[in-house]
């Protein structure tokens, strides 16, 4: 393309031809090509990009994208029982208002003073998570729960100076896959080997005997989730952390934070490091985009120095007139010491962190307790209605939170068939876990949250009955 006259693009002020010419003249060249000579011809594309012709008018562009998106069926239009790491909770209007503020949407790496509000919101997120978790040390979130668990495992490996981790079979298979990418092949020296710990298929609880048999002086940590991926509330937290500690290992617990108004925080039963996803705290699902993984731990240099993530600390002003915020022990990170830093960090989920802070501020102690109670009652009601349907069995009751496993072995239909027929009833049934957990047979994981009403749950039961008839 030469400097032919074209109309200015609304996003590019200097695309006005006269401005461009004036700037080239100021630089002292007659054509942009003179500036491009630093790129040798052999490395150039030397043709136009083969891309669609532009939809220059905003109205045309909007129409085009909206028409494509209208091909989607949404969880507003369908009644959805999908969860498995991304859940449909109510997002308060105030959360959206703040998360849409252009100041927050378009800020980036501004420091202590010019982005004071961003820093304070980050510190408030960490502070409120600290109360929910009853832990003094909370990090800025990383990409998602899987990465948070992966980093937690690597932290524990460094703290304990050991290279083996025990992981419950009932953690999310997606998260386990992410953790595996943080532990590496056996050929590399920093390999962390993963051994999985069994569970009781009747109760869904961790098999303590198997844990005792597998734990050793090589074990850096045990990682389990509570509630587990299958929704079960693990009641043996104290025993598990004691076994870990007796063997010099760290106890890492993955947790759904929206359960913590009613469930004991893992620190209560001995967890050293806690991780989880902030998605339930006011983030839209966004096709799995609305996630972010938090990490928390005991306080103290032993833990703090092993975090790879950004940590926001409060700090006084030099003149004693107020307070501000900054990155704590920045020398840990790649930004200060490149490959000598602890793992890596970078751009993660700042805006979601602010959204979650607003959510927690709105909820308060009563709100977070009540939403936990509501979710338990609604999910147990759904489980009860489903278990009344002939040929449907609900596994593991009575101790679950939000999610439960429904088994269709007696129904002579695969979960896939059941879910496809439910779509005709405008329902997204539970996630098929048949291949993830073959020992549970032909099963689906149903998620019920605060957004479901009794009518919704009765409708699910009626539709399922019709589908299985």
């Amino acid at each position: 393309m030469s400097d032919v006259m074209r109309s200015a693009h609304p996003y590019i002020p200097n695309s006005v031809p006269e401005t461009r010419e004036g700037m080239l003249k100021e630089i002292g060249v007659s054509d942009v090509e003179e500036l491009l000579t630093v790129i040798p011809q052999r490395l150039r594309l030397n043709r136009s990009l083969n891309l669609p012709r532009p939809l220059a008018a905003e109205s045309d562009l909007r129409k085009h994208v909206e028409e494509i998106l209208l091909k989607n069926g949404t969880c507003k239009e369908y009644l959805s029982f999908l969860g498995a790491g991304c859940w449909q909770h109510y997002v308060p209007a105030v959360v959206d208002e703040i998360a849409h503020r252009a100041e927050f949407v378009t800020a980036y790496a501004g420091n202590t003073y010019s982005d004071l509000g961003k820093w304070q919101a980050f510190f408030e997120f960490q502070s409120m998570m600290g109360e929910l978790l009853e832990m003094d040390m909370v990090s800025l979130p990383t990409f998602d729960w899987g990465c948070a668990a992966g980093f937690a495992v690597r932290m524990a490996s460094r703290i304990a100076d050991r290279d083996e981790v025990l992981i419950s079979w009932t953690v999310s298979p997606e998260r386990l896959a992410v953790i595996k990418n943080f532990c590496h092949s056996e050929y590399v020296p920093a390999h962390i080997s993963i051994k999985q710990v069994g569970y009781d298929v009747k109760t869904g609880l961790l098999d303590l005997e198997d844990l005792k048999a597998k734990i050793s002086s090589k074990t850096a940590a045990i990682y389990f989730e509570n509630p587990s991926y299958l929704g079960l509330i693990e009641s043996q937290g104290e025993e598990i952390s004691k076994i870990a500690h007796d063997n010099g290992a760290e106890c890492i617990v993955g947790v759904d934070p929206i359960s913590l108004g009613v469930l004991a925080p893992p620190a209560d039963y001995g967890a050293d490091i806690v991780c989880g996803d902030i998605q339930p705290l006011g983030l839209h699902m966004n096709y799995g985009g609305g996630v972010g993984g938090f990490i928390a731990s005991r306080d103290g240099a032993e833990y703090v120095s092993e975090y790879p993530t950004h940590l926001v600390s409060i700090a006084g002003t030099e003149d004693g007139t107020g307070f501000g915020f900054g990155f704590c022990t920045h020398e840990r990170t790649l930004y200060a010491v490149r490959e000598k830093g602890k793992d890596f960090t970078g751009t993660t989920v700042g805006l979601w962190t602010i959204a979650a802070a607003v959510y927690l501020a709105l909820m308060g102690p009563a709100g977070i307790r009540e939403i936990g109670e509501t979710i338990i009652q609604k999910s147990h009601y759904a489980a009860r209605r489903l278990s009344e349907i002939p040929r449907v069995r609900v596994l593991f009751s009575p101790y679950f939170f939000k999610e439960f496993v429904a088994n269709f072995d007696d129904a002579k239909k695969t979960v896939r068939e059941v879910d496809r027929r439910l779509i005709d009833h405008k329902i997204f049934g539970g996630k098929d876990v048949t291949s993830e957990f073959p020992e549970l047979g032909n099963s689906a994981l149903y998620a019920v949250t605060d957004i479901h009403t009794r009518d919704d749950l009765d409708r699910l039961a009626r539709s399922l009955e019709a589908v299985l008839r």
Binding site: M1, H9, Y11, N14, M23, V32, S48, L49, L51, P54, L55, R62, V65, L69, N72, G85, Y90, D96, E97, I98, H100, R101, E103, T106, A107, A109, N111, L116, M129, E131, L132, M137, F143, S172, V188, I233, G261, V262, L263, N286, Y287, G288, G289, A315, C328, T329, L334, F344, G346, T348, L351, W352, A357, A361, L362, G364, I371, T374, R454, L457
Partner: protein, 521 residues
């Protein structure tokens, strides 16, 4: 306007307390839907479904604040945040602080995107899969690669994904034990060193020639060996200087049996001009939250989209979106896939925005983006040349692409004022501070502006005038610069508080505990 022609500015001062100090007993921000009476009657109390030892014993000590006060508090905090949309954000080199079209924000708030669950049946997500697939085709054309994933949640995460693929590649070929070194350059982003190190590679960083600022081919030849697993490199590097020998670098690594990953986070000057393919790279990553206009969101959500040639495409994380001519699919069947680097498919909100951005640009205006970025940078260099105290690093080759590294070494020598001081003083004039540059500071007292396509000639003139004014202050009255900022809500913080385990506090509860009996101001 002040004497210097700069605007008067003062940041909002609200003196907002920490949310933990707000509200009073019994206030609440939102009412929660209770389970209907019939449900309560059927199932009884929620507590009966929690094993006794797993019940929370006391309420979480969250603040108790009414809704209007929560809204007011966070609106005020937003007002104390100098987002790109509010200012001439030229200073943040490597960040490409460009305009994020407002219309794209509205698109991703539609329920047809916001209310999609990642495990919905493929038939019900054909629209979003179409956008992901079409955008991957755009990325292939822009880069010359053959397949893309959007799973990594940021630039560093994209680099980590490439490091994992390099590792798996050598593992599959039975050479991983031997190939344990990644070569990079010190002017590549620090993640190009830290991420392969996390993937347990040793990292060899090449230093620049002091004259040209470019890494040396002979140094590369000396570094290459049987242990070489690959090259992870930025170009143009974090100096704005394009390495014209990049294809030779790639050849040398290939001949040694390594793979080459191109860090294209700094890609804003290359649309339609130069691509990863023509330089011979096997894989690359782009920051969708930078050159592709998705906003930075106070550090995310972001996307480090990773592209590979077809020979490496089997190693990509799963799933990959495919198209059979009539329907879009999520393809999990990749023989050597590294599995997952993040749950689900990535921050697809960034992809939806970037799809709309490319569709609004088209091939000619995409090239215009890059040409404008290059013109703006070289214009800024010209303007900056008359500022006392500022020198350009590596002036021998005067042309830069998307950004340019300057030095305030002269200013520091003359006045004692450092680049950190100047950065802190700049914000007193209503522009976001600049990014000094990544460590180590091979260029002393650096700063690194990137005047991308968003900024007008007038914006650039203004920004240079702010630098000129602050440098003049440094010569006349250095104390005003050293003690900055002056027009902000708070004064200089005590940075020792951030590194001392007895004082640092990441939560309010830790702060309260550590301040007890300390007589802290």
């Amino acid at each position: 306007m002040s004497e210097a022609g700069l605007r008067r500015y003062h940041a909002n001062v609200w003196e907002e307390p920490i949310i933990m100090q707000m509200g009073s007993e019994g206030e609440r921000g939102i009412a929660i839907p209770h389970a209907e009476k019939e449900i309560q009657k059927t199932v009884g109390s929620a507590q009966s479904y929690i094993p006794a030892r797993m019940k929370r014993r006391r309420d979480a000590a969250l603040p108790q604040v009414s809704q209007p006060h929560v809204l007011r508090h966070y609106l005020r905090l937003s007002q104390q945040t100098l987002g790109m949309a509010l200012n001439i954000d030229i200073g943040m080199g490597t960040c490409t602080m460009k305009y994020s079209p407002q219309v794209n924000e509205e698109l991703l708030r539609l329920p047809q995107f916001a209310d999609l669950h990642p495990f919905q049946d493929e038939d019900t997500v054909q629209g979003i899969l179409q956008i992901m697939y079409e955008f991957s085709r755009f990325m292939c054309e822009i880069s010359g690669m053959d397949e893309f994933t959007f799973q990594p949640g940021g630039g560093a995460h994209g680099i980590y994904t490439n490091a994992c693929m390099i590792k798996k590649y050598h593992d599959v070929n039975g050479e991983l034990k031997q190939r344990d070194e990644i070569i990079s350059t010190i002017f590549s982003h620090p993640a190009d060193a830290a991420c392969p190190a996390t993937a347990d590679f040793k990292v060899v960083s090449l230093y620049p020639d002091p004259e040209t600022g470019l890494p040396d081919v002979e140094a590369l030849k000396a570094a290459v060996s049987k242990r070489t697993a690959g090259l992870m490199i930025t170009n143009p590097e974090d100096t704005g200087i394009f390495n014209p020998m990049i294809d030779e670098f790639v050849n040398i690594i290939h001949e040694a049996g390594g793979l080459c990953a191109y860090d294209q986070a700094n890609s804003n000057a290359l649309f339609g001009i130069a691509r990863a393919r023509e330089s011979g790279f096997d894989m690359c990553h782009f920051n969708i939250h930078k050159a592709f206009s998705s906003p930075h969101g106070c550090m995310g959500p972001a996307c480090g989209s990773v592209g590979t040639k077809k020979e490496i495409a089997d190693y990509l994380p799963v799933p990959i979106v495919t198209f059979d001519g009539s329907r879009y699919h999520l393809d999990y069947d990749r023989k050597h896939s590294i599995g997952k680097v993040r749950c689900f498919f990535g921050n697809i909100e960034t992809i939806l925005r970037a799809y709309a951005w490319v569709m609004g640009m088209g091939p000619d205006d995409l090239r215009q983006v890059s040409e404008t970025s290059i013109i703006n940078t070289n214009y800024l260099i010209k303007k900056m040349s008359s500022v006392q105290g500022v020198t350009m690093a590596y002036p021998k080759q005067a042309r830069r692409l998307d950004q340019v590294r300057f030095s305030l070494e002269k200013l520091k020598e003359d006045t004692g004022v450092t680049t950190d001081d100047v950065a802190r003083r700049m914000i007193d004039f209503g522009v976001q501070e600049y990014f000094t540059s990544h460590h180590p500071w091979i260029v002393p007292e650096p700063f690194l502006p990137e005047p991308c396509d968003t900024y007008s000639r007038e914006d650039i003139d203004y920004w240079v005038e702010v630098i000129r004014h602050v440098c003049q202050e440094a010569y006349k009255n250095p104390e005003i610069v050293k003690s900055a900022p002056h027009n902000h809500a708070i004064t200089k913080i005590n940075r020792q508080d951030l590194d001392d385990p007895d004082r640092y506090a990441m939560t309010w509860r830790a702060y309260v505990r550590k301040s007890k009996g300390k007589g802290r101001k």
